[in-house]
């Protein structure tokens, strides 16, 4: 029996076939994949996973594709870095960085979700793939489409970082720059998706696409030696990543891969776009959309579609949410780079900034096994830090010039 039973409406429970649809016709609720867990449980095991490929596809039993052909074969299985220096700096005994800055092929966690989305899109017979994106998703869709030989349309806001724009153009998709912010792009794409028979990965393919984020939970648990962390800190844009990490942890428990889940889920946003964190701190279960204004452009979604579920998951897990200023984002990026040698994009600065805040507040305790999700690469958002990192020491090509600059003594050098 197939592992996917149906798509089911999260709100009213109505079931639909596993096609390219994302909204319940009756109540507009989101659709999600209903799995045949009894069947999956019979075959899945820690050993089977460990013997699988070094990619997200080792968890194919829990991903919404039929297989056996997987596009994006190298996504995932990024390092879980034991962050001893940053841990010591913050006062944490056991801190890990899940380092998706080195995901394949486009250096962000979006390579996971796109690998799943494009595989499913191909299975459903689509020839054109598209997305609405704050940047990283577009890069990943463009790269995967090039490799799969599919036509691609990527829609981006008009104010993206240069590297994220170039990171689309190089793969030669149709890059559509919309005059407006991400929420404008998203609305427009929802309307375009109604008119064209394309696989919009984060619209009509979203029930499948979003499931790819679960692999961040699966990998974390496996890489921790089949332990669930006590605390996780996750950046929030639409809120989807957070809800799927929560779901992934619970699937592992339901399938007997881990004994228990006591993980507290913590969400991180930037002050200039924090509709979800603001609602959480006010104790509300609904959010108010905002007009984003932050350097963390990859998180700049003012009308976060999964905000409601992110609030719920965080509350259920007894976690917390917080936000940091743009200055704290830059400091967070620098702190991670200078303690662990990992250069994160602005979303990573948000995560590290909020991690630091939660430790200071005592929400995350010294002995808590903590994982921070770093979802994108700093080379793509250089504008954010370019004025905050100093300049190289410019010298003449002579020993004198070097030693004068660095004031070398006999016992070795000092900093300039």
């Amino acid at each position: 029996m197939a592992k996917m039973k149906a798509l089911v409406c999260r709100e009213c429970g109505k079931e639909y076939p596993t096609k390219a649809i994302h909204v319940c016709e009756m109540c507009f609720g989101p659709l999600e994949v209903k799995y045949n867990y009894e069947e999956i449980k019979k075959s899945i095991s820690r050993k089977k996973i460990q013997d699988g490929p070094e990619s997200i596809w080792r968890y194919a039993d829990l991903l919404p594709v039929e297989g056996p052909t997987f596009l994006g074969p190298h996504a995932g299985m990024t390092p879980l870095v034991r962050a001893k220096n940053l841990g010591a700096h913050l006062g944490l005994d056991e801190l890990y960085i899940k380092n998706d800055t080195v995901n394949h092929p486009t250096l962000s966690f979006k390579d996971r979700v796109v690998a799943v989305a494009i595989t499913r899109a191909r299975e459903l017979g689509f020839e054109t793939i598209a997305c609405a994106s704050t940047g990283n998703l577009a890069n990943s869709v463009a790269a995967h489409a090039a490799a799969a030989g599919m036509r691609a349309y990527v829609f981006i806001p008009g104010d993206l970082e240069a590297a994220k724009v170039l990171g689309n153009l190089i793969y030669k998709p149709n890059v559509v720059e919309v005059e407006g912010n991400y929420d404008d792009v998203n609305r427009l794409c929802s309307e375009i998706a109604g008119e064209h028979h394309w696989a919009f990965v984060n619209i009509n393919i979203r029930p499948y696409y979003a499931e790819g984020s679960k692999t961040l939970a699966f990998e974390t648990v496996e890489q921790l030696g089949w332990r669930t962390p006590d605390q996780v800190v996750i950046p929030m844009a639409s809120g989807s990543l957070l809800t799927k990490i929560w779901k992934g942890l619970h699937e592992m428990k339901a399938l007997g891969l881990v004994d228990d889940v006591r993980t507290r889920i913590n969400g991180a946003q930037a002050e200039g776009c924090s509709p979800i964190s603001t609602a959480f701190q006010a104790g509300r279960d609904f959010f108010k959309p905002v007009k984003p204004k932050t350097i963390a452009k990859s998180l700049a979604i003012g009308n976060p579609a999964d905000g409601y579920y992110a609030l719920k998951a965080t509350a259920e897990s007894k976690g917390a949410m917080d936000m940091v200023s743009d200055d704290e984002v830059v400091e967070g990026i620098k702190l991670l780079a200078q303690t662990e040698g990992i250069f994160a994009e602005t979303a990573g600065g948000v995560t590290i900034g909020v991690l630091q805040k939660l430790v200071k507040q005592g929400t995350i305790k010294k002995s808590d096994v903590t994982v921070a999700y770093i979802t994108g690469n700093g080379l793509k958002t250089q504008e954010a830090v370019i004025d905050a990192v100093g300049k190289p020491h410019r010298i003449q090509p002579s020993l004198v010039s070097f030693e004068k600059t660095f004031k070398m003594g006999k016992n070795g050098g000092g900093d300039a």
Partner: protein, 95 residues
């Protein structure tokens, strides 16, 4: 006259039309007018208490009505209204 763009899930109610006209001064009135012409549409957009459902977004000339006056937002001749489902993925822990 107001132009209303209809999302795919509601098109079975509008005989497949992606765009319909309506005469209305507010969003509330527009929904009632639509419901007269295309019975059933109000139940899809609003819950039992008459409030807009959580996953329904409505835009007047590209602006989210939550930045305006919600369903009391006023409409004038020539306005374009878009009804767009939120594209949440959702996630249940009812496994």
């Amino acid at each position: 006259m107001i132009k209303v763009r209809i999302p795919t899930p509601l098109r079975p109610l509008t005989k497949g039309l992606g765009e319909v006209d309506a005469q209305a001064h507010t969003i509330v009135e527009m929904i009632d007018t639509l419901n007269t012409a295309h019975p059933g549409i109000k139940d899809r957009l609003c819950d039992d208490t008459g409030e807009l459902r959580r996953f329904v977004n409505i835009y007047v000339n590209e602006e989210d009505i939550r930045f305006l006056k919600g369903k009391e937002t006023s409409l004038k001749d020539g306005d374009e209204v878009s009804i767009v489902p939120a594209i949440a993925g959702g996630s249940s822990c009812r496994i």
